[in-house]
């Protein structure tokens, strides 16, 4: 009898046991996969470097510091200017590029609800950098004339591909009073060409 049971375990039982183990492993794998975030979404998401206004965010493409944020219903650049029924937000930026292609081509304001307002009709003068030479420049973004809770300014060197790279995230205070003030202002924000070199 004992010999028979032993034979059974050595033969068909062994196969069944192996099958059960495989099924268990697959089930555990499924549970683990379901509980982990999507791998592609994680590896393709940009790395975010948070910095307050006046603080430098250390990015791969250089150091980005938002010095000041202002607003109005109009901006005036060297060759063009634009008005809005909302508000224009202008961020004055100090950039210390580490590479030749370190300009800021993507600038956006995002809120806690997932809304994103990118450059659109606005502008970025933070382009044409020389690695190691400080640049003083601006980005201008069009926003609705209302409070934007949880607003953050996002700055990145490219608007083409955000994978495997980092971006600066600067919290903004865009409350009702601030936005109303900007919406009432008709003084154009001056947007000159960027200046290069030590100030």
């Amino acid at each position: 009898m004992r010999g028979r049971v032993g034979e059974w375990f050595a033969g068909r039982g062994r196969s069944l046991g192996a099958g059960a183990l495989v099924l268990a492993a697959l089930a555990v794998g499924r549970v683990v996969t379901d509980r982990l975030p999507d791998a592609e979404a994680v590896i393709e998401a940009p790395v975010e470097r948070h910095a307050a206004i006046g603080e430098a965010a250390h990015l791969r493409v250089g150091e980005v510091t938002v010095r000041e944020v202002t607003g109005s219903t109009e901006w005036a650049g060297v060759i063009e200017g634009k008005r809005t029924t909302g508000v224009w937000l202008a961020a004055d930026i100090d950039l210390l590029p580490s590479r030749r292609e370190s300009g800021i081509s993507y600038a956006a304001v995002r809120d806690a609800g997932g809304h994103v307002w990118d450059l659109g009709r606005g502008t970025s003068t933070c382009k044409g950098t020389i690695a190691g030479v400080p640049m003083r420049c601006q980005v201008v973004i069009e926003l609705p004339a209302r409070a934007i809770p949880g607003a953050e300014l996002v700055l990145r060197w490219t608007d083409f591909d955000e994978r495997f790279d980092d971006q600066a995230v600067v919290p903004l205070r865009l409350d009702e009073a601030t936005m109303k003030g900007w919406a009432a202002s008709t003084t154009p924000i001056q947007v000159p060409n960027a200046t290069l070199g030590a100030p």
Partner: protein
């Protein structure tokens, strides 16, 4: 029969299979990476003639580019070579230094050599290209490695460029669109490039179409 002996052929073929698998998955590297970076590098030395040879394309078809490049020196400069070919006082933004790459080139006058790029890489690996932006006065000569009024033939950008005129060779192998600015077979020129004042040049790179480039490492005395 031991396990190793029973599986000997499998074990022998395993590294081969791995190599084949890696090679078979390299298409992205071959098609999407290597043609767009400097992957075909000829390294020379200051004062040494380097030959660049590559195939390139325009609307007329395939062409062969053959040019000899000799980087003769890299030194600080306070003048720029302007669009008249004259040296005039010039500078970059505050905190920068202009460096002048001097070179001698030689090529058949029917070779299309517009659109060359001259770049200085510093000891920190930062790269600086010939670019008129930020140079004062903003009158830098158009091409980094050609002289004003001696640019030679141009590319065929449009059908009009490509259609043969009575004075133009119809031989697609030359792309010799007639030019009012003939280039001599051998010429000296300079490229003035802005670097931050703390940058130390370590290498000059010159190219027309990637991936074929010439690299000339610099020593502190060159």
């Amino acid at each position: 029969m031991t396990w190793l002996r029973r599986n000997r052929w499998g074990l022998i073929l395993l590294p081969v299979a791995l190599l084949v698998a890696v090679a078979a998955s390299s298409s992205r590297l071959v098609h999407f990476w290597l043609p767009y970076v400097a992957s075909d590098v000829t390294t020379g030395a200051v004062g040494e003639k380097v030959h660049l040879s590559q195939e390139w394309l325009d609307r007329l078809g395939r062409h062969q580019r053959d040019v000899d490049v000799t980087i003769t020196g890299v030194e600080r400069t306070d003048v720029i070579r302007d669009w008249d070919g004259e040296d005039v006082p010039g500078e970059g933004p505050k905190g920068t230094t202009l460096w002048r790459v001097s070179m001698t080139l030689a090529a058949e006058p029917d070779q299309v050599l517009r659109g060359c790029v001259v770049e200085i890489e510093d000891t920190q690996g930062r790269r600086y290209q010939y670019d008129s932006m930020h140079v004062t006065p903003a009158e830098l000569k158009l091409s980094a490695c050609l002289n004003p009024d001696e640019e030679g033939p141009s590319f065929a950008f449009t059908d009009k460029d490509a259609s043969p005129s009575p004075t133009t060779s119809t031989d697609a192998s030359t792309s010799a669109l007639d030019t009012e600015r003939p280039r001599p077979p051998r010429w000296d020129t300079v490229a003035d490039i802005i670097l931050p004042s703390d940058a130390v040049p370590a290498k000059v790179r010159i190219w027309w179409d990637l991936p074929t480039v010439i690299d000339v490492p610099l020593t502190p005395t060159s």
